[in-house]
Symmetry: C2
Subunit: 554 residues, 2 copies
């Protein structure tokens, strides 16, 4: 663990790490960097939390909670204080008056303290169990994604904000020479905050996807209402709780950030979205809700939606390693990542390799073998797949499988010795042809791969491009060792705002976007309109206002 | 005239001028800095342009043109090649393929050349006559606004773009240490352009308001269709023509920028807006068209709309000078500036001055005297007021005047000895009370001031704030020498994203926003969603895309 706390003095250097795009991580992702006692404590704490009230009961709130552990397959029994929309909005508006009036510097001080309170080994392990037993992510992924990776993503936002909010002097003495006299004005420049920000969490990456938005809103002087998915509240409840404690320690209004709790049966998100006081909405989730958000007036909306991620397999120096890599990426967290590959395009002419051309059917066979090896591996299998967050995913995959005439591999449950009741599912692999567009040009969430036989490399690329433009894409994985084709792939996929990962093997996975180096979502195609982290992610949350004072004319 | 041309080597320094916010101008605004021969040439050129075809007739185009000089009160008789929407879009899409593929550096080279071709004394005088005889701006304003000021605003955009587009390295060798081995990836980062940009000009500031958008689109690799107001084509036709010549000189597709010409009776703007190829829309003009633009899907829209600009008169060290300043700002270009003051709030308790309290009615009398002196001044009158661009402005003011029971000053024509047929109108000043909100809470375009008697300073401020929040405001002028109240004004008006100019006298005018120092429009209230020039103005026109190449693992 990094022993130096985050302070305002670090932020300029952090911004250099952001712009130079080299590898950088403030918080180690390697479990071995952390004392195991934190893990032991965290597990005990988590077990104590089960079947109890997370918050001390507030008489003005109702207690709600309906999370279910995908590993234990039982309800967590944790209840949270749930407030009415009116109270949440009123609290947030009151807190905004205080928070937005603070100086930028003061906000950075508080935010640094928030990072130092959240970025501790104990919190990381607490978040790991909370994430694991709400999302179904494996323990390792839960630890990394909700702890160090989420915090590093947030730190990236803080660094960008530091640069952006300090771009201009807070005031200048401006002087214009008119020859015979000089006009003098005193001018000041202020980044003016916009109001209440609503951050809507998702059920699969509650902390990783929402934390950057929380930080972006707070540092720009806006208040935050965090509305987690009703099935993945705990990680965000822990984060909100710690931030509130820091605010309290600084003598600030705790309602600068609030947790909004609802249930699947009685959702409150739209009511919050439509409240005129809510000016900013950050959303991670499906397309239909995002489309609804785009129809709302006078809101600044940041989204990460669904996409159809493509794999282009044209040629490889080592096809077996390529296939292993691809299968791992599709299996990781059972394909429940927004970055997971789905559609694999292979020309009917097969794949060029050092061992000659591998035909389409041979490739499918190799995929099947690799997928089976992955899911049947007693240790790597359960650790890679984790568990299925939502029963709908299981049902949907069963349904979609039937849309395809040819199945390469049907899914099974994964044998998980530690959690025998875990809701698991191995990879389904189906095949089809480029003629059957309607079957593959939409997101099929979960562990599902479609191998599409095309007429040519050109058709493969054209379909991947079309699909990204029309339905969105966050990633594209390409196996290709032909320089001309690689350039073509990059140019065509980039033109629909989709980044390409070429020839990934070994420890390089298309799913993973590293803070300080990889942009997550470009914002240019229907997979979302925002990016972790470009300057727009921060700068669209406030407006510069400059005032001028006449001083004198000589 | 600055003798050093703009080159890539200047742009880092220009960006420092942008961030430091001190006075900076690359192009001198003072007519005396320019040899008078350019003026003589320009006038002769303008006269030759009258009743002729601006473009060499293209058989595939139709010839259109219906501009009328507000000074001469006759049609200019200039015809322009007008192409069908389909041709414009097709040309622009074809040009986009070339232009977007160029390196950022190459685009900066071309853009520098565009500035050096546009930023010449001859072009400035050519633009002056073109602007004067389409917009009705006085010769001086036409020269300054369309030439040096517009170019400086464009240069500011270029400087911001230089910083933003070069923020990241074009590629890095990224290495992540896993302890036993190291993962190496080659990564590149590209600002990917979005497509065809439509820039919709207005009739009052065709060049000043559209030029920054043109530059922002071009430098981010997007193509531009410039659609001027049918009554103010010439200034933009000159600009597009010169840019096309530069493109041609560089061997580039001239259709990277195109002029789209229509008539009031057969407008084509909506058809262009709705074309799926048009991804970016820059618009200056009224609210109803802007509201329409916000309903369009998959467009990135930048607007400067109308607003209601307020004046708060509480106290003054020198009320006469304050009034002179205010009257000048309201008279300048006959109030046809988006920054012109309209609503003057004065408490019934009067205005504190070194000579004692000046009552509401005395203030109105002083306003009237100053306004009459301004319009009747044989030299300053016509030079300040210029001419009325649109007959509707005259009709509307007549109509609105009747909404008010009490008129302080009725408008007259301005005696203009040089242009005896000029369409002119002096200031109308009416008075009302804070009870009559419906009469003053909307924009009344043109030379029209409303003095509103309020119950108190607090009511004055509350009304100005409410009006800015609901109807937008680009400026607020405040006369107040009480420190506590000044802070209140700044805080309250800034909270609705309205900048305040305090106690302006002499050569400081609320209408004027200086490039490199003042933001023009904040983007936060209904007066517009974009700012000259924040980084969003550039960064929302492209998306960062990063590609990753697996190199090796050790």
């Amino acid at each position: 663990m990094n022993s130096n706390p985050i302070s305002i003095d670090n932020l300029e250097a952090l911004y250099s790490n952001y712009t130079n795009r080299q590898f950088y991580a403030f918080y180690p992702e390697d479990l071995r960097a952390y004392d195991t006692s934190f893990n032991t404590n965290a597990l005990a704490k988590f077990q104590n939390t089960l079947n109890s009230d997370f918050h001390q009961m507030d008489p003005s709130a109702s207690l709600l909670g309906e999370e279910v552990s995908p590993f234990l397959n039982v309800g967590l029994g944790i209840n949270y204080n749930a407030y009415s929309n009116d109270i949440l909005i009123q609290n947030s508006q009151n807190a905004f008056l205080d928070w937005s009036a603070f100086s930028v510097n003061k906000r950075f001080e508080v935010l640094c303290d928030i990072f130092n309170s959240l970025g501790t080994p104990q919190v990381f392990f607490d978040l790991a169990y909370a994430t694991m037993h709400t999302t179904g992510q494996s323990f390792m992924m839960s630890f990394q994604a909700s702890g160090p990776h989420a915090l590093d993503r947030g730190l990236e936002v803080l660094a960008v904000a530091y640069h952006e909010l300090n771009k201009f002097p807070s005031s200048v003495n401006w002087e214009k020479d008119f020859g015979k006299f000089s006009l003098k004005l005193f001018k000041n420049y202020k980044p003016v905050s916009v109001g209440v920000g609503l951050v809507i969490g998702c059920s699969t990456f509650p902390s990783w996807n929402s934390f950057p938005s929380i930080i972006a809103n707070l540092i720009t002087g806006n208040t935050v209402i965090v509305k987690p998915h009703p099935k993945a509240i705990l990680p965000l409840a822990i984060i909100v709780d710690i931030i509130q404690n820091v605010l309290d320690k600084h003598g600030l209004n705790k309602n600068i950030i609030q947790l909004a709790v609802d249930t699947v049966a009685n959702p409150i998100t739209k009511i919050l979205c439509e409240d005129p006081a809510v000016k900013l909405i950050d959303y991670t989730g499906g397309n239909s809700f995002a489309s609804y958000l785009y129809t709302l007036k006078n809101k600044i909306v940041f989204t990460e939606q669904a996409g159809v991620n493509s794999v282009l397999v044209d040629s490889s120096d080592n096809l077996d390693k390529s296939i292993q890599n691809l299968i791992f990426s599709a299996s990781l967290y059972s394909g429940q990542m927004c970055t997971a590959p789905q559609n694999i395009y292979v020309s009917k002419d097969g794949i060029k390799t050092p061992d000659g051309v591998i035909g389409f059917d041979d490739f499918c066979d190799k995929l099947k073998i690799a997928a089976e090896a992955m899911s049947q591996n007693p240790k790597a299998g359960p650790a890679t797949f984790g568990a299925i967050q939502n029963d709908n995913t299981l049902r949907n995959i069963e349904l979609k499988t039937n849309d395809f005439n040819e199945q390469i591999l049907l899914s099974n449950s994964i044998n998980n010795e530690e959690f025998t009741d875990a809701k698991t599912q191995s990879l389904t692999i189906v095949k089809t042809t480029s003629k059957e567009k309607k079957n593959f040009q939409n997101e099929i969430f979960g562990p599902f791969l479609i191998v599409i036989k095309t007429d040519s490399f050109e058709e493969s690329l054209a379909l991947a491009k079309e699909s990204a433009a029309q339905f969105g894409a966050i990633t594209c994985l390409a196996y290709c060792v032909d320089n001309i084709k690689m350039q073509q792939i990059e140019m065509e996929m980039n033109s629909v705002f989709t980044p390409v990962s070429f020839n990934f093997q070994g420890a390089a996975f298309v799913n993973q976007h590293a803070a300080f180096s990889d942009f997550h979502v470009t914002g240019g195609n229907p997979a979302g309109n925002a990016t972790f982290t470009d300057s727009n992610f921060v700068n669209r949350r406030y407006f510069w206002v400059g005032n001028r004072y006449y001083t004198e004319t000589f």
